[in-house]
Amino acid sequence: MKRRVNVIGVGMTRFAKPGASAEYYEMAREAGQIALRDAGIAYEEVQQAYVGYVYGDSTCGQRAVYELGLTGIPVVNVNNNCSTGSTALWLARQAVASGAAECVLALGFEKMERGALGSKFDDREPPLGPQVQLMNEVQGINSAPPAAQMFGGAGREYRYEHGTRKETFGKIAEKARRHASRNPYALFSQALSLDEIMASEEVFDPLTRFQCCPPTCGAGAAILCSDEFASKHGIAQPVYIAAQAMTTDFASSFSEKSMIKMVGYDMSKAAARQVYEAAGIGPEEVDVVELHDCFTANELLTYEALGLCAEGGAEAFIWDAQNTYGGKVVTNPSGGLLSKGHPLGATGLAQCTELVWQLRGCADARQVDGARIALQHNLGLGGACVVTLYRRD
């Protein structure tokens, strides 16, 4: 049996630079309490919790949730690289949809170190070995941050294929900063000009510093429930999940020797297709999107993977300002990972939070007028992609 799943409470902390944040359980407590207040329920009504984080030893999830209460409920620790947060959300939705629970908490947090993402366990085969192997064959490896090499390499491939200008990538960062300037939760809320973005230090051609998301600390939370639970608590017209899908790598990620495929293009495309089919809603009906812009190159690729524009059409889509207010669809009104920050475990829940605010019409200065249908895309290398379609009737 499948039941409709509602998102009745969301919350997030303001994102912070590594070294400047509170402890992980403190951030988790803050986000969790905001979400509970938002839903208007007590923690005691939560029947299960799915808690995502990437960096931390086992059972940090319990350590975090215990801050909200000690009620003996099942707590599951979730680790799925950059899509960790939405993976927790996916599990929570599954629990409610299947009838296993009436009200579930999805929580995500991350306390990150300065600098580029790296491996923590040097004494064993790294999980991204095959990806690194492929990258070595296609473009070699240098001392730039590995993720920048992967997504930047995908950008190169796209650029060569479509004759794309370097500034087109920069333009995405310019938009991200412009959007973030209206978001009090964003880490980088200062608008930057395209010139400033292009002039920043090159990380990996064609990506410059401002086109890479920063390591960030923060937490996000969402409370999901069934229709029965919502009506029992007098919650009218909640935002609900119209469809959701998770995909992992297909053979094409490795067999095609393509950086674009390696960084998960087909995962995103397949997840989006499943969601559109399940919901009976097409990309053209989507009003607002939070998508995984860990690097500008990936936002560009994701426009096409999600069907927001035709394949090969991203450059025109960007320069025609179809990706912002006044265009076809507003992408990353929050400023995205690029500006808001990317605490791996929290990102998926922060995206959810932003979209729920948008659908409730309470996103203040960054409100997308008349937003009714919202799309969320969260991607992790290794890999996993979660796409979620939200609605409010």
Binding site: V138, Q139, S143, R156, R165
Partner: protein, 993 residues
């Protein structure tokens, strides 16, 4: 946007509204709420007759549909009466659609004055009259929309419609100006070129086409253009059959010819292709934009010139050419200018006998050779040394030469010559150009400077500066201070030419005859060498090191076999005036000549510190290192079992292959190639040695592109043990080497106090660690006993000896174990679990000590206070590789030739400018396909559509088709700025080769 575009309250005049397009416009405006004046004279399409029926019918139609309209039957030539009708009926006016029109088609040779006048009157005067009468009303109310109706026949021309075309295009001009005059009063004026099935087109189009060209497909454009929300003005549209497009002017980038010099029809003809080339075309939208290129050209004042010498180009042009020479070149040159005629003369032998060691010397005038040879090599290919010097070699006469030595020339060297135009003088009808050449060595130091003054026959006459009269150096009246007489050999020119001057005039009797000489003449620069040698012999005791400069004028020819008499007057301690004559005919051949000396021998900047360099230690070889690895495997049994990988090493310069078979058991080291390697590592021998002796980080070698890894990349991570090779093992394999020289300084000597000092430095280097870690650590060390505190409670933290007031966690261990832990040799967890470290207080806080393991060894050195006393000068092995010479230069030069031969090559790049910026060694080339003839030029300045950054070696591989463009780009070895779409076209260059 989805709401209907309404015209409620608006009044529109539609002329010619009784039929076709006009009728449809009227119906459309009325349906949307406008009150409409339906004007129609009711005549035929050729302007005959008159009737009120057509207009009345449309008015009735409008009224029947509930709209408001009145009819007007006046000719558009009485435009004021039509406007009056609107005012009478509706009190105001907002919109004028000039639509009325007739045809009087006739081929031009049959066209009558009446045909012409009638068409111009109805279309042009009519539109003027109506619009002019409406204008004050629209201005007064600050609102108006005017439409002109033109035609494709007007825009493009159409057979048999000369009158109609002229009148129709005139309307576009009228609209463009009205748009500007009306802009401030919110009056918008646009023009449409409709094609619709109407009475006018029935005569020219087949009926089935007319059916598709319904007027209904045109009127909607007006429905938007005339609306108050539409901001469009001054625009032109083509519309019909459901299609709407906007037209604009396009102008080629064109060609600007420099002002201030003759400008002829020939110039226009020469640049015709560029004038008509629409690549990167512009779209001027108004008079100012139209004027922009003209104004830009007016501001660029020309330096002058003609077809032979373009001063604008030449003065901004620089050519850079590399060359190298060795002792053989130098000795051959010296023989060519008559050195060492007596093989037993020890002094002159020093110019030609390289085994003289330190006493081998380079004749200073050799400094002119690399540069002039480079020029001659270009001339041989029919190329000019500098862009903008467009005269042929046959016009040249070498007039004067100046050579200055900046530091004594080495027996062999690699030089980079940079050519510039110093001056060009107009000695109409001839010209004089002075080319300056600066030659630098690889350290970038200036070695020599040359000025070559050339007389160019018939290249003058551009009205430029005649130049200075020229310094004359008359020899003093007194007897010379020295005279040297020397006979040239009969085959002197044949010997001299082997140094690079291939000009047949000096070797080929027939050629020489053709130029009016009885036999081949001696090279002027050969005589030049004689003169310098004479001065050095007479005044410097044959030691050329103080020779500074020589300047001469070539006054006449010398034939091989003639005797040169050089007379020299010492003018000061550092200056000698010279004159050389041919003894046989007493002709002066070298005049206006002077040689200068340095007071002291100049010293090369690079030579100064180099003198103090101690001889480098020979260091271990790769073979010795592999021997040490074999010993290591013996001592660490079971490494194969553990690592399970076969490593293949392919070392270069010198080349050798080795493999480490760590697939099973204890492992083995072998020379040669493995049957099946898991991972292959390619690197320079020197880099391998640096890596295996801990001087180079394998990751850095890899990331820096110095080590290539193929196969299982991850497996290469397992090579860490190489860095832990015991130096003693190396000693053992090196056998005879003195143990003392190699012994690494004992790491243990540092002591825990040094480590804590290094931690202090680490905290300084990483501010804010206290705020981050928020813990106070107390260390209690034993054997010997000591107490230390690392206070990371707040701020940047600090380290001190003693006991903390309040420690969060206390760690007790042996001094020895602390040293092992802090130098990364012992794992803190293992010490703890193994009972060697006792932890009390907040146990978890001890986990935050990880940073200890990341202590920078440099900090440790610094803390020891012995940083200066590094055990050995770092082996320069890695950097000792000699800087690479350009491999791609020869290919690029071949490309230059190909392009010169085939102007149709690279047609796909037509109009584009591509720059290649090479590294290692650096060079810049411009592939210019903007003109009729594609060209490839070194060091040419200017903008490019795409800039490609690439290493010389990679470009070589690309041009040799060894590396595809796409891979180079993806790998970051080819960097593309600008239009990346041009990148794939680089493959064309390889194809051309």
């Amino acid at each position: 946007m989805s709401s209907e575009l309404r015209y409620d309250g608006k009044v529109a005049i539609i002329t010619g509204a009784g039929n076709g397009l006009g009728r449809q416009h009227a119906l459309m405006f009325a349906a949307r709420g406008a009150r409409v004046v339906v004007n129609d004279l009711g005549g035929g399409i050729h302007g005959e007759g008159k009737s009120s029926a057509a207009a009345d019918k449309v008015v009735e139609e409008i009224r029947a549909a509930g709209g408001e309209a009145v009819a007007n039957y006046d000719s558009v030539e009485d435009g004021d009466r039509i406007v009056q009708t609107a005012l009478d009926a509706f009190g105001t006016l907002d919109i004028v659609v000039n639509n009325a029109g007739i045809l009087r088609d006739s081929s031009f040779h049959k066209m009558t004055q009446a045909d012409w006048d009638l068409i111009v009157r109805v279309h042009l005067h009519g539109a003027f009259r109506v619009s002019h009468a409406a204008w004050p009303i629209l201005r007064d109310k600050g609102y108006g929309r005017i439409i002109m109706t033109t035609s494709a026949a007007g825009i493009y021309g159409n057979f048999g419609q000369a009158n109609y075309s002229a009148a129709k295009l005139a309307l576009v001009g009228l609209a463009n100006t009205l748009a500007q005059e009306g802009r401030a009063k919110n009056i918008h004026v646009n023009t449409i070129a409709p094609i619709a099935g109407s009475r006018l087109t029935e005569t020219v189009l087949p009926p089935e086409l007319i059916a598709a060209l319904k007027p209904e497909y045109v009127s909607p454009l007006l429905g938007w253009l005339c609306h108050e929300d539409c901001k469009e003005s001054g625009s032109l549209f083509e519309v019909g059959a459901g299609y709407i497009g906007k037209l604009r002017w396009e102008r080629s980038k064109g060609r600007s010819l420099p002002l201030g010099r003759p400008f002829s029809a020939e110039d226009v003809a020469r640049h015709w292709a560029q004038i008509g080339d629409f690549t990167d075309a512009e779209h001027p939208g108004n008079i100012n934009e139209s004027m922009a290129p003209l104004l830009a050209n007016m501001n660029s004042k020309s330096l002058g010139g003609n077809e032979f010498i373009d001063l604008d180009q030449a003065m901004n042009s620089e050519t850079v050419i590399d060359s190298q020479y060795d002792q053989r070149d130098v000795a051959l040159y010296a023989l060519g200018v008559g050195a060492a005629p007596d093989p037993l003369d020890d002094q002159e032998l020093s110019y030609v006998y390289e085994l003289k060691g330190d006493r081998f010397q380079v004749l200073p005038t050799y400094a002119v050779m690399p540069a002039s040879n480079a020029m001659l090599a270009l001339a041989k290919e029919g190329k000019q040394v500098l862009k903008g010097l467009n005269f042929g070699f046959e016009r040249l006469l070498h007039g004067e030469q100046y050579t200055e030595i900046k530091q004594p020339l080495k027996g062999q060297d690699q030089l980079r010559h940079s050519f510039r135009l110093k001056a060009a003088y107009d000695k109409a009808p001839h010209a004089v150009v002075v080319i300056a050449v600066t030659s630098r060595n690889q350290a970038g130091e200036e070695v020599a400077y040359n000025e070559t003054t050339m007389f160019v026959r018939g290249a003058g006459g551009w009205g430029g500066d005649r130049g200075p009269a020229g310094e004359t150096l008359e020899p003093p009246a007194r007897e010379p201070d020295a005279v040297i007489e020397e006979r040239t050999d009969a085959n002197q020119a044949l010997l001299y030419r082997l140094s690079g001057d291939w000009n047949p005039l000096h070797a080929d009797p027939a050629f020489a005859k053709a130029f009016g000489f009885d036999k081949p003449i001696l090279h002027g620069l050969c005589t030049y060498g004689y003169v310098a040698r004479h001065v050095i012999k007479a005044f410097l005791g044959n030691d050329a090191r103080r020779f500074k400069s020589i300047r001469v004028r070539f006054a006449d020819n010398v034939f091989p076999g003639q005797t040169l008499v050089t007379r020299m007057w010492r003018e000061s301690a550092t200056r000698v005036i010279v004159e050389t004559r041919v003894k046989e005919n007493d002709k002066i051949v070298i005049k206006n000549a002077a040689v200068e000396f340095y007071e002291q021998i100049p010293v090369a900047a690079s030579a100064k510190p180099a003198a103090a360099q101690p001889p480098a230690d020979a260091g271990p070889s790769a073979g010795e290192l592999f021997g040490a690895i074999a010993l290591h495997l013996q001592q660490h049994k079971g490494l194969g079992e553990q690592i399970k990988t076969v490593f293949q090493f392919r070392l270069k310069s010198p080349d050798s292959d080795w493999y480490l078979d760590l697939k099973s058991g204890d492992g083995a080291v072998q020379q040669g190639l493995a049957a099946q390697a898991d991972v292959t590592l390619e690197l320079a021998d020197a880099d391998f040695i640096a890596m295996a002796t801990g001087k180079a980080d394998p990751n850095k070698l890899y990331f820096g592109g110095k080590m290539k890894v193929s196969g299982n990349v991850m497996a290469s991570q397992k090579l860490g043990f190489l860095q832990k090779l015991d130096p003693k093992l190396l000693q053992q394999t090196r056998g005879t080497r003195a143990a003392a020289a190699e012994a690494a300084p004992p790491a243990d000597a540092s002591g825990s106090a040094t480590i804590f000092a290094a931690i202090g430095l680490h905290l300084q280097a990483h501010p804010g660690m206290g705020a981050q870690i928020k813990t106070v650590f107390q260390f209690q060390l034993k054997q010997p006993d000591s107490s230390w505190v690392i206070d990371l409670k707040s701020g940047d933290g600090r380290v001190f000896a003693g006991v903390a007031e309040q420690a969060d966690v206390k760690l007790e261990m042996a001094d020895e174990d602390f040293l092992a832990m802090a130098s990364g040799k012992a794992d803190p967890n293992k010490l703890y679990f193994g009972g060697k470290m006792k932890v009390s207080g907040n146990v978890m806080a001890s986990q935050k000590l990880g940073f200890l393991q990341k202590l920078d060894p440099k900090l440790l050195q610094q803390a020891r206070g012995t940083a200066a006393a590094a055990p050995r000068a770092p082996a320069a092995a890695a950097s000792a590789l000699s800087p690479a010479a350009s491999r791609s230069a020869a290919l690029l030069e071949r490309l230059q030739q190909k392009l010169a031969q085939d102007s149709t090559a690279l047609a796909a790049l037509k109009g584009k400018l591509l720059r290649l910026n090479l590294r290692e060694p650096e060079a810049s080339w411009l592939l210019d396909c903007s003109g009729a003839q594609p060209s490839l030029k070194a060091q040419a300045p200017g903008q490019a559509d795409a800039v490609f950054g690439i290493r010389d070696e990679d470009l070589y591989a690309l041009l040799q088709r060894q590396a595809p463009v796409r891979s180079l780009y993806q790998q970051g070895r080819l960097r593309v700025d600008g239009d990346v779409r041009l990148a794939p076209q680089l493959a064309l260059l390889a194809e051309l080769l």
